[in-house]
């Protein structure tokens, strides 16, 4: 009896010790080294679990895709008419594009400027899952180191920035969306204001209004609603010229010294199934 009690006591001590040790290791690993790279052990386990998940989710994905395809089929005629109009427009842009490309090359040579969006290869990927943690906004995609994906690569939908790669395994990667409220990195942006550009910093996302805040713009500068916001290319992570959104509101800060702008993205962050990773051409 006494021995049994002792044994139970020992087990309790072991559990409590594991709890305390795991808490300490957890804090050290996750808090002290927030941008750490995953270990081979973690990568292997994560890849294995996500591979099984892909197989298990195949029937569900198949049904959901079928439903979506049927929905799209019903809207096809209207889309076709729209596209027909766009094709006519595109012809005009094609010629313009050729000319601009030539000019850009000349300018790059002349000014020796940074990378632009054209220096990147597009890697398309499917979303496997979204974050289970309520407090961070991440998605996992089915492309990883094997496809040349590395940490900090920008992720877009169309030409709209949605986030960046924060960790990679051999066959999968995790993307932190720009809607994440815990984002520490601030993104350097420029706003097209008539014929000039105004530079600022994208500083946080407001969940309630579904808007982003842009700071660092002098109050003397008048910016119109609907102005396009793009990346500047400064900071070496996001190339220049990726659209982030449009200005939807203009306010001033608490001291009436600078403008605080509200911006809305064209991307529906609630429905992300396919994304594109911009892989640097080395």
């Amino acid at each position: 009896m006494y021995r049994k009690k002792q044994k139970e006591k020992r087990k309790k001590i072991i559990i409590i010790s594991i709890l305390v040790v795991s808490l300490i290791i957890g804090i050290i690993v996750n808090i002290a080294i927030p941008n750490r790279n995953l270990t081979i052990f973690e990568k292997t386990i994560k890849d294995s679990i996500l591979t099984v998940q892909k197989v298990v989710s195949f029937p569900i994905d198949f049904i959901v895709n079928k439903v979506n395809t049927n929905k799209e089929k019903n809207e096809m005629y209207e889309k076709y008419k729209e596209l027909e109009e766009q094709v006519k427009e595109n012809e005009k842009y094609k010629i313009e594009n050729e000319e601009l490309k030539k000019q850009l090359e000349d300018m790059k040579e002349l000014l020796d400027i940074n990378e632009t969006i054209t220096d990147y290869t597009y890697v398309n990927a499917n979303v496997i899952n979204r974050n289970l943690d309520y407090w961070s906004d991440t998605i996992t995609i089915n492309k990883g180191e094997y496809d040349g994906i590395t940490k900090d690569m920008p992720v877009v939908i169309g030409n709209n920035l949605i986030g960046k790669i924060i960790s990679t395994t051999t066959f999968n990667s995790t993307v932190r969306l720009i809607t994440a409220t815990d984002v520490v990195d601030k993104i350097s942006i420029k706003i097209k204001n008539k014929d000039t550009y105004v530079y600022g910093i994208l500083n946080g996302y407001n969940k309630e209004n579904n808007t982003y805040t842009i700071e660092g713009i002098s109050q003397t500068i008048k910016i119109e609603n609907g102005s396009i916001v793009t990346t500047t290319g400064m900071g070496d992570i996001f190339p220049a010229g990726i659209v982030i959104g449009k200005i939807t509101g203009i306010n001033t800060d608490n001291f009436d010294l600078s403008n605080v702008l509200e911006m809305q993205s064209d991307v529906n962050f609630d429905n992300i199934n396919y994304v594109t990773v911009l892989r640097r051409n080395i």
């Binding site: 087990k11 072991i14 559990i15 594991i18 709890l19 795991s22 808490l23 290791i25 957890g26 804090i27 690993v29 996750n30 808090i31 995953l38 973690e42 386990i45 994560k46 679990i49 996500l50 099984v52 998940q53 298990v56 989710s57 569900i60 959901v64 979303v127 496997i128 899952n129 979204r130 974050n131 289970l132 943690d133 309520y134 407090w135 906004d137 991440t138 924060i166 960790s167 995790t174 409220t181 815990d182 520490v184 969940k207 609630d270 199934n273």
Partner: protein
Amino acid sequence: MIVALTMISFFLDGILSKYILPTTIFLPLFTIVSLVIIYPYFNNNNFRYFRFIALVGLLYDIAYFNTLFYNFFIFIALGFIIGLLNYLLSNNLYTNLLTTIITIITYRIILFLMVLIFKNHTYLLSELLQSIYNSLVLNIIYCVIVYILTEVYSRKYKILRCK
């Protein structure tokens, strides 16, 4: 049965996260629900139970959170609460529902506190309440379904469990 139920819940969490948004009231936390349901099947062998949930927590960390020993710690803490509630209450559908609700609320509160303490950002209490509210509906439904299924299965195959 224990492993199968936990694994199914584990993968369902990942798959459904793609289709169910954090802003809806149907946030899945099926793995946590499964921790509540499987407890009686360990027949008071707490050490085995804690070993099992610690492993599930570690896999949860690696697969869905990109962290180490984060959910591992939380799951063991939840294990203590589940064990205590099972010790105080008899095991039936209603007490399982109550335990599920308490466990989910505790899980959300611990996550909220960790984020609040360690991340460089302020979060509102209303966001915590919203996250709890969003997590309850679907998981209660899942708890009822899984409880009934495990009851039927354990009776059919005469699997022992503590009452």
